[in-house]
């Protein structure tokens, strides 16, 4: 038996390659079916924007070829996907999944989204996972949860958009129900707006130099569209302003917004300037109860959080190692049980045959004596089996059972599959 992971991730493949490997949910069963047909007893496909990984149980030698073939077809141009890929086996494969689930292998260290993606992958592949991978993914989710609760790996905001949320959360008691005004149509502003919206912030207004463009984005977000000149008035009402225009100079000036800010009655206003070059004149930060942050500030927040998360890597790795050992002990035990059972059955069969033969020759013995001999044969067999059974179980739990198991199978001609 074995556990294998084959795949690509953000460390081994650039974004344009990873995009080609990404599977939609409906494509997963078909790809897994092909891999299982090549000779694997269970499979789970984890596909996110940062990784595409096939987790396989009992993969035959032909299976890696099948996986790379599936991915190479998506890559096209006669290129081989294996150039971007990696393979991990057994304990390393288990450790890999646990690290992924814990966020240790993520692009943004400790990000929690991966936990949901691992769960989705497991649920999507449930019909094809088999018992070993079922248990593996279940434990991976527990490991992820344990790392997040026992270490600081998921604390703080480690990306600029999440830093925008973190900064706003230091100003307002609750983000849910706050109103946001978006200036411009930059990708970063849209990303940050999505992050804020996930915290319950309502994007109520979208303003852009071009009204048509503002309307297109406003429709997506269920907001009202404005021109930039109409937006200044709304600095009196909005709680959060996200700015990301393509203007070559500051568009939000003191003169534009000071009169509106004066009407806020002391309510704080958080301005997140994600434009490059900056959209908001630095003097705006001097207005009372206005908190202005640009992209450098947000990246500083993110970098600080990332540095703090890095301090917790050793603790997280310790948890992963502990859990790998725990899983492997379970898995090792699982592997030896059927072989030991067959080993015992085979020897018992020999014992019974030889006992019957001997008793036929010793027909003069009393029933008590015959019983004594049978008892002796049984005890002898148990004594004989005790030490090998113990040694095999211990070796399996320590991860060294495979060689012994193979030797046992070869020496005693055990043919039965060692599956659970």
């Amino acid at each position: 038996m074995s556990i294998t992971v084959l795949g690509v991730n953000h460390r081994t493949a650039p974004l344009d390659v990873r995009e080609r490997f990404a599977h939609e949910r409906r494509e997963v069963p078909t790809s897994l079916e092909r891999v299982l047909a090549a000779g694997a007893r269970g499979g789970v496909l984890l596909s996110t924007c940062n990784r595409t990984e096939f987790y396989l149980a009992e993969a035959d030698v032909a299976v890696p070829e099948a996986v790379w073939a599936i991915l190479s077809e998506r890559l096209g141009g006669g290129r081989s996907a294996s150039e971007y890929g990696y393979t991990r086996r057994d304990r390393d494969a288990v450790r890999h999944l646990y690290r992924v689930s814990a966020g240790l292998d993520a692009m943004i260290l400790g990000e929690s989204q991966i936990q949901g993606q691992v769960r989705d992958a497991w649920e999507t592949s449930k019909g094809q996972a088999g018992p070993v991978l079922h248990r593996l993914f279940q434990s991976a989710l527990l490991v992820g949860a344990r790392v997040r609760s026992e270490t600081g790996l998921a604390t703080g905001a480690a990306s600029a958009p999440s830093a925008a949320v973190a900064v706003a959360a230091r100003i307002f008691t609750r983000l849910a129900g706050r109103s946001a005004l978006i200036l411009g149509a930059g990708d970063m502003a849209e990303l940050a707006a999505t992050c804020l919206a996930s915290e319950g912030v309502r994007v109520t207004l979208v303003a852009n130099r071009t009204y048509e463009r503002a309307r297109a984005i406003a429709e997506q977000m269920g907001a009202r569209a404005l021109t930039l000149d109409e937006a200044w008035e709304h600095f009196a009402d909005a709680d959060i302003v996200l700015s990301s225009t393509a203007a070559p100079h500051a568009v939000v000036t003191w003169d534009h917004v000071a009169p509106a800010v004066a009407r806020r009655g002391g309510r704080p206003l958080c301005i997140l300037d994600l434009g490059m070059p900056r959209d908001v004149e630095p003097a705006v930060a001097q207005l009372e109860n206005v908190f202005l942050y640009d992209i450098d500030d947000l990246q500083a927040v993110a970098a600080q959080a990332a540095a703090e998360r890095r301090r917790d890597i050793p603790a997280a790795e310790r948890i992963v190692s502990e859990e790998v050992e725990r899983f492997w002990a379970w898995y090792g035990g699982l592997v030896v049980v059927p072989v030991l059972k067959e080993f015992r059955e085979r020897l018992d069969q020999v014992r019974a045959t030889e006992l019957e033969r001997a008793l036929r020759r010793l027909a003069h013995l009393s029933p008590e004596d015959r019983g004594e001999i049978e008892h002796f044969s049984q005890t002898l067999l148990n004594k004989f089996l005790h030490q090998p059974t113990l040694a095999l179980k211990e070796a399996a739990q320590a991860g060294r059972g495979y060689g012994l198991l193979e030797a046992l199978k070869r020496l005693f001609g055990l043919e039965r599959r060692d599956d659970p």
């Binding site: 959360a169 307002f172 009655g265 002391g266 009372e288 109860n289 500030d297 600080q304």
Partner: protein, 263 residues
């Protein structure tokens, strides 16, 4: 036995203060259950201790009660507002006040002036509770100004990470001030009632300075409630009013020193 529960409370308050300060020293935050549980245990021990105090006259019992209310308000701030940073101030302050009370001595130094013991205790309790609320308003205002400064200066250190959001601190300040002022007023009125009914005279300086302090406190509440001040201005007003209370107390104690009476 008065001393033992007070000593247990002192140790638990010191531990609560250490737990509140730990994250600022770069250590991991204690679990919330511990941050709440330790002061609550301290409060329980302290209540047992105070219940055994036979006379509430003098500085020591008042300081002990003030410490008790401060820790109770700290626990309430943590529980209701998630404002664990309040403990950074209240923890050491309460520990210090209780320690001072124990040093002065909690044993009664003289008999009550009249037979109106229950009213007297009510007057002291209500007044000290009001004072503790005003202290909490002061602390919330101080935390607000610190967080405000860090946010404006774009410093993302321990204050940024560990202090509550600005709005929450403003709400805590508002609530403490609005509840603290009528409580103090009621306590003062009860005090006058107890004194006059008991036939005791009230020092003119106490009346004049007390009224002035009351007016300053009333102004801080008025600008919040009537003129809808919020944020930094309200925080400054709150700090100014509580500072006035402290200054007047110090001045009156300098004029009539001694530990036999709180005022």
């Amino acid at each position: 036995m008065v001393l033992v529960p007070h000593l247990i409370a002192l140790a638990l308050y010191a531990l609560a203060a250490a737990l509140a300060l730990a994250p600022f020293a770069g250590l991991r935050s204690a679990p919330r259950a511990l941050r709440l549980g330790v002061p609550l245990l301290g409060i329980a021990a302290h209540v047992i201790g105070i219940a055994r105090v036979t006379s509430f006259l003098g500085v020591a019992p008042t300081l002990s009660m003030l410490a008790l209310f401060l820790v109770a308000l700290q626990a309430a701030s943590e529980g209701l507002f998630g404002a664990s940073a309040v403990g950074v101030f209240t923890g050491p302050l309460a520990t210090g006040l209780l320690g001072l009370a124990l040093l002065i001595g909690l044993a009664p130094e003289g008999p009550p002036p009249s037979g109106r013991g229950a009213w007297s205790i009510l007057h002291i309790t209500v007044s000290v509770l009001g004072l503790a609320m005003l202290a909490l308003a002061f602390i919330a205002a101080a935390l607000y100004l610190l967080q405000f400064r860090e946010l404006k200066a774009k410093r993302f250190g321990a204050v940024f990470r560990l202090f509550p959001p600005l709005e929450r601190l403003d709400q805590l300040n508002h609530l403490s001030l609005v509840l603290g002022f009528p409580t103090v007023t009621l306590g003062v009125l009860l005090g006058f009632g107890v004194r006059y009914a008991g036939g005791a005279s009230v020092d003119a300086a106490q009346v004049v300075w007390g009224m002035l302090t009351w007016v300053v406190l009333g102004w801080a509440v008025g600008v919040r409630v009537v003129r809808h001040w919020a944020g930094r201005r309200a925080a400054f007003a709150s700090i100014a009013s509580f500072t006035a209370v402290l200054l007047v107390y110090v001045a009156l104690k300098l004029a009539a020193p001694g530990t036999q009476r709180f005022l």
